[in-house]
Amino acid sequence: MINFTYSRAGDVADAVRQIADDPAARLVAGGTNLIDLMKEGVARPSRLVDITHLPLKIIEETREGGLRIGALVPNSDLAHHPQVEARYPLLASAILAGASAQLRNMASTGGNLLQRTRCMYFYDTSTPCNKRAPGSGCSAIEGINRMHAILGASPHCIATHPSDMCVALAALEARVLATGSAGERRIAFADFHRLPGDRPEIDTSLRQDEIITAIELPPQGFAGNYSYLKLRDRLSYAFALVSVAVGLQLEGETITQARLALGGVAHKPWRDAEAEGRLNGARVDRESFAAAADIVLRQARGFGHNDFKIELARRTIMRALTQAARSTPQSQSDKRIR
């Protein structure tokens, strides 16, 4: 790691002040991704501002009947919170599908949103990468791109967002609360992460002087019919090739509300309003599921090694929808896919 200084933030305003004063400073909470990136020489902050002592560790009910999750709640505490287990099992399941027990004990809710791609070229400082060194080129497009994006990529970057938790948060239409020099604002989850376009070095819409203080979940948690199905190269502790979060509201055999989000396929958790629209009002059957999958993947494009992901995504969407409709969500312990 390079030389850096360390300070603690006394309160949220102090944290904002410290990063506003020094654009090369970074906030640190769990550190599971940032410390690793610093060891690799990918992240080179001048200062780390430790926010772990801030009072952002509370999970509480919102006035509208949803949940507000403090940005410093560890991933493991969030997954096992009684309200999350009972009302938002899709979120609990997605969290438990990611990382290891140790990392989930360390990683914070806010930090999970801000983790960076695990594209190996982003990590390898000896290779060009537009995300790490803007303008240097993308090594993955013509390189080894088995893990890379099939949706929403650009000629400048085909990296994927690595989070599982964020795929569920996208499906649940969470909101991100952020505080900066200009005050507090709420960011819709769909607007938080961005597509690479010609600025792949920018992952999110969070401003340089802003800190995430909480995530808010709306009341609808799809606890009756949901599934988080993650496909990867080994059964545990690996990033997704494709993952699918589904939440359904059913009336008999009719879908009245559908949420569908994909992980491992794009620069952000991927939702498709048209595909969800195809499911809304449709019957629970293979034909509806196949039609929705076709819509999601109509613009999908592979880059060679990852061509298989398009068919894998189609099958994963259909299986996850089937699991959700049958109320048989994917177990994150017994890995058999039913």
Binding site: M1, I2, N3, F4, T5, Y6, V28, G31, T32, I35, D36, M38, K39, L48, D50, T52, S76, H80, A99, S100, A101, Q102, L103, N105, M106, L235, S236, Y237, Q332, S333, D334, K335
Partner: protein, 181 residues
Amino acid sequence: MAQPASRRRTWTQAHPLPARIPVTLHVNGVERRLELAPWTTLLDALRLHLDLTGTKKGCDHGQCGACTVLVDGRRINSCLTLAVMKDGAQIVTVEGLARGDVLHALQQAFIEHDAFQCGYCTPGQICSAVGLIAEGRARSADDIRELMSGNICRCGAYPKIVAAIEQVIAAGGSEKAGGVA
């Protein structure tokens, strides 16, 4: 072309080392006061500054679990943890599990089940299993396999590691396991 020495600005001059930071860690019940550079990981603080070399450095990137220790009762990867961020914390390492000559139930079970070959991952496996039992969520061998997936064993002792942990859980878990963490 070389500049005169007086005009050359070295990296160290441009980036003077920050002052060392006082840190107090309570390691295996003993208060230890250190002065550390901000980039010293908890793993390096334990191994290099406190001479507690039971905790192993495997990948140093949070991928192998060899560095697992318990901080305030929870298992974490000490290689991705800055020691200065754990000022005042209670740390338990593999050295803190036995009570004198009486091994922790998990240590005993690992021996009885021959749950290691080279032994390099074992301190991390055992500390991780202490954390797993304290969490109290493992109900089956599938659960143990999933919840221990952050600990890699390249010798492939997994079936015996799972058997050793199952035995300790069946015998009553942490209460009868020495009561640590």
